[in-house]
Amino acid sequence: MNKESIQLHVNGVRHEIEIPPSKTLLEALREDLRLTGTKCGCDDSSCGCCTVLVDGVPMLSCVMLAASYPDASITTIEGVAQGEQLDPLQEGFCVEGGAQCGFCTPGIILTAKALLDRNPKPTREEIAQAISGNLCRCTGYTQIYASIEYAIKKLRTTPVAAASGGR
């Protein structure tokens, strides 16, 4: 298969990789950049596990051709924490038990992050709407809502965390 040199800008780092143009962003992230936090669930755009942020907007990396996005700034779950300092959303999932098997968690955290960047005080209904494309088969969603609401509260009470949330 023909390979081409392709640029990807992921979590603030520029990469140049040799891949076939038919490779999806999900495959490039996992196989070429070894960023395996982004999960492959259905591989058919039905489950949301592979959600990444593209210029801050949640998109499904399983239906994106990596070669289509050389100019975009991509954020994966590996780029959410500030070094050892967890993002308030990650902290919320730890404290409130938002992750059980954990497979949907990276996609939900990124989707929620984009929501909070746009709307720092969403209602539970708005949260449910925003993550409605992210399937979780373990939690029944209650703890996920609680985890996101933990982050909302933390971002409201600690302005420092709020500032780092807008990356």
Partner: protein, 331 residues
């Protein structure tokens, strides 16, 4: 499932994209948001040599409204952008509503309005992996000679499964198509062929560039109702879009579009003649319902039964009429 091997080109202007199409002919395939094309490529439904990625055509994503010229939407505007546009919500609410119910929020961030009008038709015998299709016997639409939905016939019944086309048919929309001979305009009703295989009047060398909705349709009340298995993600299995203009309790105009039941989205033309000049009554509602189920012909193309989908057409038509009727305070 694995991807076919192809080259990807990323033109920056419509003319450049047209040149790629002219050069590669039947071996080229267009991709915009990718939410329909990429899964289909992976299922082996297409094997292009060149994929022309339209995302770089930045001037095709605008949404503008003018009191005289109406609404213009670039074909690359995302479904999220259409659903959230204040202009669309204010003047053509049924379109914002239909765009806002496509698939899931994250898919609407990727999928485009132009792409939604050019979707591949869907069928349970078609939207499967190569292995599945080979095991069950290929179908008329791809690699085979028999339609498993209607084995006696010689036509394909794969279903038009886009949401926005129903709303845009109801709104009397036009589209602009760019091709080797320049740009042409076409009524959206003339874009669809009602053939599951050869679904739209878009030539190999052409690109849908803009969607235009007349100013005369601005301010019509409208609503869209749809059926699907999982309400947050799936393709529609039946959809009814209705727009009406009512003055002092009298219907001055009404148009109803159906999606996800036939191989094309369809305008139920009888609705206009049934309702215009009338005051709404339950009997009229039932006459509209009858016209709808005479036009919408669901078959066994999905995991839901045709009977259920047809019944939901009745339910949605009644609900839509009642909703717009009550809102208008005519009763």
């Amino acid at each position: 499932m694995s991807m076919p091997s192809f080259a990807l080109v990323r033109p920056r202007a419509v003319d450049e994209a047209l040149e790629h199409l002219a050069r590669h002919g039947a071996e080229a395939m267009l991709v915009a948001g990718g939410t329909d094309v990429v899964p289909n490529l992976r299922a082996g439904l297409f094997s292009p040599r060149v994929v022309v990625d339209l995302k770089g055509l930045g001037d095709l994503s605008g949404i503008t409204f003018d009191r005289e010229r109406g609404l213009e939407i670039g074909a690359l505007a995302t479904l999220t952008a259409v659903a959230e546009s204040q202009l669309v919500r204010q003047h053509y609410p049924v379109l914002a509503q239909a765009a806002g119910t496509v698939a899931s929020p994250v898919l609407r961030n990727m999928g485009t309005l132009g792409g939604n009008l050019c979707l591949e038709t869907r069928c349970r015998w078609y939207n499967q992996s190569y292995f599945w299709r080979q095991s069950c016997g290929f179908c008329l639409k791809k690699d085979g000679t028999v339609c498993h939905v209607a084995p006696g016939g010689k036509r394909c019944w794969a279903v038009w499964s886009g949401d926005t086309a129903g709303a845009l048919l109801a709104l009397d929309a036009e589209i602009e198509i760019a091709g080797p001979a320049g740009r042409r305009r076409l009524s959206l009703t003339d874009f669809y062929k009602n053939d599951g295989v050869d679904r739209i009047h878009l030539g190999r060398g052409e690109i849908l560039t803009r969607i235009l909705v007349p100013a005369t349709m601005a301010g019509y009340r409208g609503t869209y109702h749809k059926l699907r298995i999982r309400n947050s993600i799936d393709y529609p299995l039946a959809g009814v879009a209705l727009v009406v203009k009512v003055e002092d309790g009298v219907c001055r105009d009404a148009r109803l579009g159906l999606v996800a039941v036939n191989p094309a989205p369809v305008l139920v033309r009888e609705v206009e003649s049934l309702l215009v000049g009338q005051r709404f009554t339950p009997e009229l509602t039932e006459a509209v319902v009858q016209a709808v189920v005479r036009t919408g012909k669901p078959l066994t193309t999905s995991m839901s039964t045709p009977e259920y989908r047809r019944e939901m057409l009745r339910v949605f038509s009644r609900r839509a009429l009642r909703e717009l009727w009550r809102e208008n305070g005519s009763h």
